[in-house]
Symmetry: D2
Subunit: 359 residues, 4 copies
């Protein structure tokens, strides 16, 4: 109800020009959002989405759109992962498995966004779908036998992620780890797994990360338009936070192989205990400012875009919204640690943090 | 700050499933907005955008995207108007001048959206760019001589709109009406003009509509993504309101040739006096509920998505937001009519309406 | 990200005045929201909140604030219900049990809002707290024996509502109906019950309405500021929809005694089957536009501010957002009726509606 | 359109309890927003509003409301400045000139908000209205002669601000500095001026600060509810940024007398050149990442809640939204400095900053 007056007002000011009046207030600013996630433990936390499609497979946008979307949403790096085997999927669209990368690359450079050459190995279950990142030539993965594609990816030094393991189209009643996945893992041809894809979450995959040492990842797998799929005003697309030593493709590759990743989807973060703890400590601070007969009164400040829900063993609960401060009276001598309900390590394992918060 | 608790809560409820947890709350509803613009004068007011592009010219989306966008934004009809002469404009994209229509049509039918076969005649100034709507074969307009394209469009029964007449790339310092436009008009090959395109407004074009009888139109000319170009949460893309006798392509065609159109851009409506007046009367109602020594106290209710700013000759001003009611004390015996500052007839001509509002 | 440019622009336009520059764009418009709830069954649906406090009991605002809040939020009528027995509750505040009404009344008249004289009988459980509406003198209800207050309210023709029956401060583990409530009901001194208060819901109270014939009501019981308590941008305060024959205090009183009410809280409506059904039919329309091998394709349009969730016996589910249209393919011959999950009649009884929707 | 599904879902999960279902998702979180304004030059930047009213003068809320509002909006300190001379202004409200402070103080302590004892000297022009901050007993300023009130304020060590100097009720056609103001200044009884009050801006008052050494201040002067007056979702109330050496009342007092203040209203900041420059440098960073034939390509990052508009002498313009990053190609060798259009020093004097940005 504020804008109308402004728009009219603009008009009155400039109505002398009868040829061409620019009204930039009617279109959105071409700006990039700053995601508020603190760097920690000496790492730079990069926001990455390693799974998405264009018209060069079954997506519906030109490759440059993926760069523009990611840049505006505050991401640092993306991989376009068009399906390798069924290209071109569309009547009237030509090109090969490298085309989407090659078209998007100059645009990514203009936006200072890191673009990783990649492709999606797309097979029936088992083994399912896999993204191979950091390829040098995607075309060479277009093989009839799926293992040949993995071997070629391995030769090219790829980081390989198992996509949407519990996708109902492939595993309708379960989210099963097959023998072939053990084999790929043992051969060094499987490094990460999507614990979240688009809008679905596979809790058991957390345990694979926790126990088998896969990297925790989350991805949009976007085929459609990001802005009409996700509610970007309030939320964000699912993404992988990568804890890098430098802001570069090299930095990301090193971090991925070192399994320094956190999957971010909705208000959940899934990762290794040490990473989640350090992230929490970097985001939240507590300041004691009063003691009374009900307990110690703290001001708790959350400097990140991620809200936290804390639960003490005795049921005492704190909800700490994003980018906010709250006042909490902690009952004396009873609360010595909290479970952080949205920081996930395994399917039944969440971060526990001592109180007052300490590393 | 409301959602976090909810998301966490959802999670607790369903955490027993470790294979696949759907989180539909993280994606947007596939729903169509209802635009609040009342029907009036016995006409059904259709919301139309007759100018947009896809990858079959210099746009960056697959044709079905234009259908999805328009449907979600509450439009009733669109025309995809890829540039005719330089097709295909993109490496790797084939097809011909009918391809974008033919690809989008089945999708439009599934969404119950009217799709009009069209193309953009794209020439240097003069004569400039023109959309030809209701074509039967766009390919036939791909001629070397521009007049041949117009004649062919005429043969196919096209409604022809002059696009962005004051576009600085073609008319940097002016918005000139050339002799060729008079010729086209006289030959029955020019029927409407864009008084607004994307984010620019050409006030002088209002006078061409008012005096020369062209249809007032506004269009997005969208090449990019609509949701990242326009602020759809608060605003809308520019569009043409068409006053039809029936919700059909036939109804739209008849209304266009009868020049029953209103251009809607930002909070402005541009059209014929009779249409603007009827629209205003259908949107706004006034109820007197008190008289005091300062004047008559009215409750003014605006049941439309368009805010109005009213100005009396003595300077008294009323701002009436969209979808709202206000209380206004009208000074006794002084205010007998208002100018509606955002209802435009000509470059210097706005709607005047008597008070109390009456037809 | 749109506004900044505008604000700056405004400034450039008017910077010649160095004494006083008005910047109305920095404050909110004084406008009244239109709540989109259709009238139906020949009734005018009034939006009412019959429970709220001011500084004349334990609230924190001057009485006129309650009028301004309600008007801006689109309500038609309110009752200020300050606690009767402990007035004045605040050091420095005088007055009597009629003061808040008398202070607010002239302001309500200026805003064309209906203000009902009322008070809250505030007693320990049993019987608990009760609002008496349509009083002529609230002071007379300030009695030592609670039954005397009820009898006086009855003499004054009051409509009496049992407030927050399951409030944990009074009924920590239950929401019990006591003998005294049967007695009050039998004596004609109990007419309605809050099935929802502020942010809590008492499902069992729905059954009291359904079986014992009490009026379904919901209320804010606001002590604080409405705009900082409820998320008014997206939601609404809890309220009672009253199905009146005329927009007047008389109309409301008649409707209340005839039990023509619906409680609205969050996205839930609770009321009699006939009212909920008529409301649903007035809000939702279905248009068949295609049949294919998957079923009949309908466009479903919801013209109200209330979203609906429909569930067929076979598990097929439809989510129909507020002020929106969706496309739904109804499986042929299988779906003949839906349960509307958010239209509540009793604690375990929801509205069932045949498909295609019919009265 | 996201919430409905969630709300329904919550309901299904917990529907077994028929007595009392809490729905906290229907009310707002009690949380404090973090205002993103960087500390700089070794100072802590406190967000303060030194002008507001309660029911103890002509405001409409209980004093604690002012604390809650300010805390939630992210402020660090406030002064309640009820009118001194006409207390109590309301029938039924008693107390004296210290009451609002004394009622609010315990509440402020619980919220860890700094509350300053103050009062508004309210006189006809000249001299007008003045806030006296840091008083020890407001009652003593209730004198018949206005100069006695100033002298008493001086004795109590008050910091004195001239409020809304161009208020049309007192100076309808001008914003005049009277002889009495020179006298007050010379006597050390005038230290600051409101360059902005509620929704009006007095450009000439900037020059008084710039030349006469008054502190730049902005204030809400709120009588009504803050949340219904200002659009807090997108904007903020007008306030004074105080550059303190410590977060305490003492720190604020020292900073005020040292004139280390910036007035913040809408998207404008008004203050001394050195403060504005240091603030800008702390908020904005530029990173060169490419050079091409059109110029140098920079990524410009704005880490604050304040958008900036930069204008080069040759007309080249940059709009840098709040909390965002943009990419700007700076034409080679032509742009060596920018005027920051929304950083104000005097009525015709804005901050100039060299490019690349340097202190």
């Amino acid at each position: 109800m504020l804008l109308p007056a402004l728009l009219l007002f603009s008009f009155f000011c400039i109505s002398q020009d009868i040829n061409n009046i620019q009204m930039p207030e009617l279109v959105k600013n071409q700006a990039r959002k700053i995601i508020r996630i603190p760097d920690f433990s000496g790492y730079k936390v990069l926001k990455c989405d390693f799974h998405m499609h264009t018209i060069f497979s079954d997506g519906i946008v030109w490759p440059t759109v993926r760069v523009d979307e990611a840049w505006a949403e505050g991401l640092d790096a993306i991989a376009i992962t068009d399906h390798i085997e069924n290209n071109p999927s569309k009547k009237f669209v030509g090109g090969d498995d490298n085309s989407s990368y090659e078209i998007a690359l100059p645009h990514a450079k203009q936006k200072n966004l890191i673009l990783i050459r990649a492709g999606e190995i797309t097979r029936k279950m088992p083994p399912g779908h896999f993204n191979a990142l950091f390829l040098s030539d995607v075309n060479k993965l277009d093989t009839s036998n799926f293992m040949d594609a993995f071997i070629e990816a391995g030769k090219q030094g790829a980081f390989i992620i198992w996509n949407h393991p519990g996708w109902k189209a492939q595993q309708p009643d379960t989210c099963k780890w097959w023998e072939i996945h053990t084999e790929l893992l043992n051969k060094g041809l499987l490094h990460g797994v999507e614990v979240f894809n688009e809008m679905e979450y596979y809790p058991i995959a957390l345990d694979w990360c926790d126990i088998r040492g896969l990297a925790y990842t989350a991805a949009s797998d976007i085929h459609d338009i990001s802005a009409t799929t996700y509610n970007l005003e309030k939320h964000h697309r699912p993404m992988t936070l990568v804890l890098t030593e430098e802001l570069s493709e090299r930095g990301i590759k090193d971090a991925l192989f070192a399994k320094r990743t956190i999957a971010w989807f909705g208000d959940f973060l899934a990762g290794k205990e040490e990473h989640l703890k350090a992230f929490f400590m970097a985001s939240v601070s507590a300041k004691l400012f009063e003691e009374n007969n009900r307990g110690q009164v703290y001001s708790l400040k959350n400097d990140s875009d991620i809200p936290f829900t804390l639960k003490a063993p005795d049921g005492y609960k704190i909800s700490l919204p994003a980018n906010s401060e709250i006042i909490a009276t902690i009952p004396q001598n009873t609360v010595s640690n909290f479970e952080v309900a949205n920081l996930l390590i395994g399917s039944h394992k969440k971060l526990n943090i001592g109180f007052p918060f300490k590393q």
